[in-house]
Amino acid sequence: MDGLFLQILNGLDKGGAYALIALGLTLVFGTLGVVNFAHGALFMLGAFCAVALQRIFATSYQAVSETKKDFLGNPLKEDVPYIQDWFGPDVAAFLMDWSVPMSILLAVPVMALIGVIMERGLIKHFYNRPHADQILVTFGLAIVVQEIIKHYFGANPIPQPAPDIVAGAANVGAWVGLGENVVYPWWRLVYFGFSAAVIFGVFAFLQFTNFGMVVRAGMQDREMVSMLGINIQRRFTIVFGLAAVVAGVAGAMYTPTLPPDYHIGMDFLVLSFVVVVVGGMGSLGGAVLAGFLLGVLQSFASMNEVKSILPGIDQIIVYLIAVIVLLTLPRGLLGRKGVMEE
């Protein structure tokens, strides 16, 4: 029972991440009709916004230490962060500690800018090109972005600890009346809440604003939107920027769970496509539903009890679900007719 409860939590946490990544992807599919293989790269760039902020905070000058020696036996040149000089050690320590949550403040404008530049500079020329071309050009872009990041940050994962206050695990068991072994990391709870808030925010934006109504109309029927005509280009740009921001903040906040490296976007790319397709192309609700479904099922499939009956099931569960869903529900869970079918 305790184990099951924890796996449900795991599934929801994973599902939140999957849903968040798939959300932007399906938004771009649905409105712009573009298969964006660089979406994983946007997630990765978001994660590196967190890394960059940490680096910015840690920007230092070198002071020669009187007492310590470096690995070659020379006097150690210690790095003294500028923020330590400017704001004093307490504030500096606080900033370093909170760099991941604060990186959202950096990620939102940066990712919006990247999204707008990407759409204006590249994607908009591909609206009427075959999906294969869109895949190739965005895949090429993803590789280029990845290699640039690798050039500056190296290939190894870079640790991004969560703030101290949410380090460690919460005693969830005590809250719900289960055993004391039912603990769950604070940060994952934060991430779950965060993803729920972002998902809710995106839905509210689309539901209650004029802009959102046009976008939703566009996802219903792409031709109709182009008939509406007015400023559709600008709206597309904003939608793409929004998708980039959602992917970016998802990436930035994910860094304490998985130390980011340049390849993290590619690792999520296939999975996010599976989520989008299982949910139904161009269906936001579907993407969220599929994200949580796959997350929870993946967690269940990893349980020892399940694996002892079906060895290796955890390796293939996501794909197996995708096959089953697509064969029984031709358009995914909540997909509508006519989207991405030609």
């Binding site: 050009v137 390796q315 293939i316 995708a322 030609e342």
Partner: protein, 391 residues
Amino acid sequence: MGNTQSRNDLLLLAGIAGFTLLAPWLLAPIGAAYPDLLQKFCIFGIFAIGFNILFGLTGYLSFGHAVFIGVGSYVSVWCFKLLTMNIIPAVALSVLMAGLFAAAIGYVSLRRSGIYFSILTLAFAQMSYNLAYSVLTPITNGETGLQVRAIRTNAELSLRDGDVRVIDQALGIQEVGVPITNLFGMKMSGYPGFYFCAVLLIICFYLAQRLTRSNFGVMLKAIKSNQNRLNYTGIHTRPYLIAAFVISGMYAGLAGSLMAVTDPIAGAERMQWTASGEVVLMTILGGVGTLVGPVLGAGLIKFAEQKVSSWNEGILNSFFSFLPESLQHFVVDVVSLFVGEGWHLTLGLMFMVIVIFLPGGLMEGFRRIMARFQKKPDETVAPDGAQQAAE
């Protein structure tokens, strides 16, 4: 018109055959004339030609074609282990098994179209890859890959550690050290292996050419063009699609088998989604729907992977040594971002540049160049002529 076309086809085939067979000399100036790379050009050429029969003709984008490469490789290595080091049974059985796998996967996946089809094929390939890497290790030898060993001396030894080769044993063929793949005694590594692959590439190219020109090929093109209409024209499109899927799966199986023939090892990573993606890139890069394009694309990507990745700073320095020292440093600094360990960056940029500026792939580029050259002497030449010649 029919005659011109068949004459052009013959010329093209002769050109391809000539180029392939003379490749050891023609490619020497760019440093690509060594057996392994030449073999890879042929093998991935075959893979890409087969993939183009599905993707180029019907428009169905499979994201899991590498699974048939894997099937072909594993079947071949098991043939080497169980039956004989002669490659004939291995090649034949690999193509057959890949065809069966393709029939099964195609039968299910082709119930859907568009991106749903792509994801279904991707899912099957990823499941195969994940299982081959771990749970199916008794068959695939997992991460290490399946290799050929000396004949096992006692029955206690696990089969993976030592082989039986019943046919070779029955024929009394002696083995010294590591057994080597052969075609009736002719060694299949190095240049003989390349020529074997080259001949198969030419045959595969010829078959693809015939298929494209045949009634069947036109039906496939009609499916790509307007599948619905074809249904109302009295054609049940599913068998055609399954046939195209199986044929391209068999091409992939052959390619996988040739990998094992020239280098007897089979690994799971051949089935990963990136491997499936690679053939998509090859095809688009060269020119979807053209006959030569996919082969060109395959060659280009394999060349980048093998040669561009090997240009380290030392080589760059000696290459640019004619420049003044300071300029040399600068040039080497810039260029080294794109070659050696930065070769992925070059690959990514290449994809982008070609898709943005040459939507029809490299073949489109040739077509444009040809059109320009043909226009100058005689403005009245019909563009059709150029198109066919280029194809």
